[in-house]
């Protein structure tokens, strides 16, 4: 299953970044596919991007809301929120584990041999503040002298934008190098910090700062596809804790908002078939059978 997930991540990454004519066109993709929402965090100013970034687009709607209302156009971003909500309603944070290019990038970085560290669980709440402040409130309320807002998250924080769009565009268009200043260097420093952190800890950006992950996390309890715990089979041995890349203690909180449904706990952790995949309440997959140990051994494995 882990191999399948890797292939899904690769294919999703290529589908969201499938415009490979950019070295010749020296421009980003401008075709009709850009009306479709990228499920993961994927900057739409990336020269290869074929879809729009929901977080970038939502900020633009918030930043331009007053202008559009003044012009008699009712652009509230419902299309973007609807697209995000449909994806979140079906898959929730499973998208982070299966279809986000920046999540995949962090997974690859974490494979670099180095000392590994845990991330304090309290930091998880920072991403909700980032979603609320940098994606919604500041673009909506912090206006310039012309009455226009800014996409604060893209402009000041997003390391995915620097990796996927800022650096490639500077390589592609040398004339832009003269225009970079403090803003770019500060974003570059944020990107480097997250890259180093991703080597040392598992998926730090997803866990601490990703506003799209925060949005999808809101669907933790109600998403259509989720993992289910069978309490009768669970021995509380803690094997699911040890394999989880997001630091979830699945047997203690099966609806944890951090769960990216990568299935590591189901496939590599639980030996008792206590974890299964669930589609809208109907169990799928490996809930029916204990995998390796007979019932007598279950009693012996509790820690």
């Amino acid at each position: 299953m882990e191999l399948i997930r890797k292939w899904v991540q690769i294919v999703a990454g290529f589908l969201m970044n499938g415009y490979w004519l950019f070295p010749w066109s020296r421009n980003i993709y401008q075709g009709p596919l850009k009306v479709f929402c990228a499920p993961g965090l994927n900057c739409y100013s990336c020269p290869a991007a074929t879809t729009y970034c929901p977080i970038g687009s939502l900020q633009h709607f918030m930043a331009g809301l007053r202008f559009s209302l003044d012009a008699g156009q009712y652009y509230f971003g419902l299309y973007v929120v609807g697209s995000m909500g449909l994806l979140g309603g079906f898959f929730g944070r499973m998208i982070c584990g299966w279809a986000c290019p920046f999540g995949f990038f962090q997974e690859l970085l974490h494979k670099i041999p180095s000392p590994k560290f845990a991330i304090p669980s309290g930091l998880r709440y920072l991403k909700y503040a980032i979603l609320l402040l940098f994606v919604i409130l500041l673009p909506l309320l912090a206006l310039d002298e012309f009455g226009a807002g800014s996409p604060w998250f893209c402009k000041y924080l997003c390391p995915a934008g620097t990796v996927e769009a800022g650096l490639p565009l500077l390589l592609l268009r040398p004339e832009l190098r003269e225009t970079i200043g403090f803003l770019f260097y500060s974003k570059f420093a944020i990107m480097v910090a997250f890259i180093v952190w991703a080597v040392l800890a598992s998926r730090p950006f997803c866990r601490v700062a990703c506003p799209l992950g925060a949005f999808y996390a809101l669907f933790g309890r109600v998403r259509v596809v989720k993992l289910r715990l069978d309490p009768h089979r669970c021995t509380n041995c803690g094997a699911c804790h040890r394999v989880c890349p997001m630091g979830v203690k699945f047997n203690e909180s099966p609806d944890d908002t951090e769960c990216i449904a990568c299935l590591a706990c189901m496939e590599r952790g639980c030996q008792f078939g206590a974890i299964s995949l669930d589609l809208c309440g109907v169990p799928l997959g490996a809930s029916g059978t204990e995998k390796h140990l007979p019932a007598a051994d279950k009693r012996g494995c509790s820690g």
Partner: protein, 57 residues
């Protein structure tokens, strides 16, 4: 006999209605956005490079 059959039968898995309502709610938002012609606005934004958004310029 009837009781034995009932005991042996697995309990049914109730469909999570909250999941369906959530999906339907956001489907409604999605369709409302289309009715307001928001996809054209999204396309217009996504076709432009916003240099200041990525820290350049």
């Amino acid at each position: 006999m009837q009781k034995q059959l009932q005991r042996g039968r697995k309990p049914p898995h109730p469909i999570r209605k909250a999941s369906l309502f959530t999906v339907l709610f956001f489907l409604g938002l999605f369709l409302a956005g289309i009715a307001l012609d928001e996809p054209a606005r999204v396309l217009e934004q996504a076709r432009q490079i916003c240099l200041s958004c990525i820290g350049i310029g």
